[in-house]
Symmetry: C2
Subunit: 154 residues, 2 copies
Amino acid sequence: MKSKLLIALLLILASSAVIAGKAEDQQIKSRQSAYGFAGWNLGKIKDQVVDHPDTYNKDQVIAAANAIAAVANSGLGALFGPGTDEGTGWAKTRLKPEFFQQPEEAKKLATDFNREANELAKVAAGGDAGAIKTQFAKLADTCKACHKSFKIKE
Amino acid sequence: MKSKLLIALLLILASSAVIAGKAEDQQIKSRQSAYGFAGWNLGKIKDQVVDHPDTYNKDQVIAAANAIAAVANSGLGALFGPGTDEGTGWAKTRLKPEFFQQPEEAKKLATDFNREANELAKVAAGGDAGAIKTQFAKLADTCKACHKSFKIKE
């Protein structure tokens, strides 16, 4: 009887681990989607205000900046649960374990990204391409800072 | 000389195909990210207004609805270029070739999604959980309609 109970307990533990793994993988997949969507919109703004300013389209840049702000304001913290420095969403996560070892730094970098993304949405609405370019650079710096600290290089 | 010219031409054609393939794969990856991000936010709203209404949090539902509207308003059409019913972004695309054979239907379904997503953002701002639930169902219907016509089942 004891061994049967032990097997049953082990099975429960094993299935819990699978469920936990799936929840973590879903968080990883959602955050890869969120940053992938933000990246596409960052690329559009870079194209129109940095690389080819002759193609600047106010409405398109507003939509892109609003999309990035919506990502920043969507509560991304919920997608960085414990253990999500390991696992596979769309692809294997590139989050460094340091993210969980330096929570104050992670919070600061997330706050920086949020602030500059919301500022970009405001500046984009104003329609001054030069001001958008300046603010875009500030936002891009917050991306790079976080990648440097917490994202594994490809 | 003629054969050298032919080889050079073939090399150019081959590398163009690779570049074209990469551009298509990037579109597929960006749209998988966009819908993945929208799906995460749809899941949060479903959780708070359909499955566990006792957990309804007005600000979180507003942020989620704004995120979905930002996806809908981001110009997704640019991610459905010719030939993108084949290729691999984060994963192999599940877009049916019918999408390109029925452009009027595709446009109608995209317009429906856009309209209901923007309406959900408006209703979410009002803070009436019942009204949000009704509008959420309308939006979900537009997702299902498009999947039925144009998305390959897993």
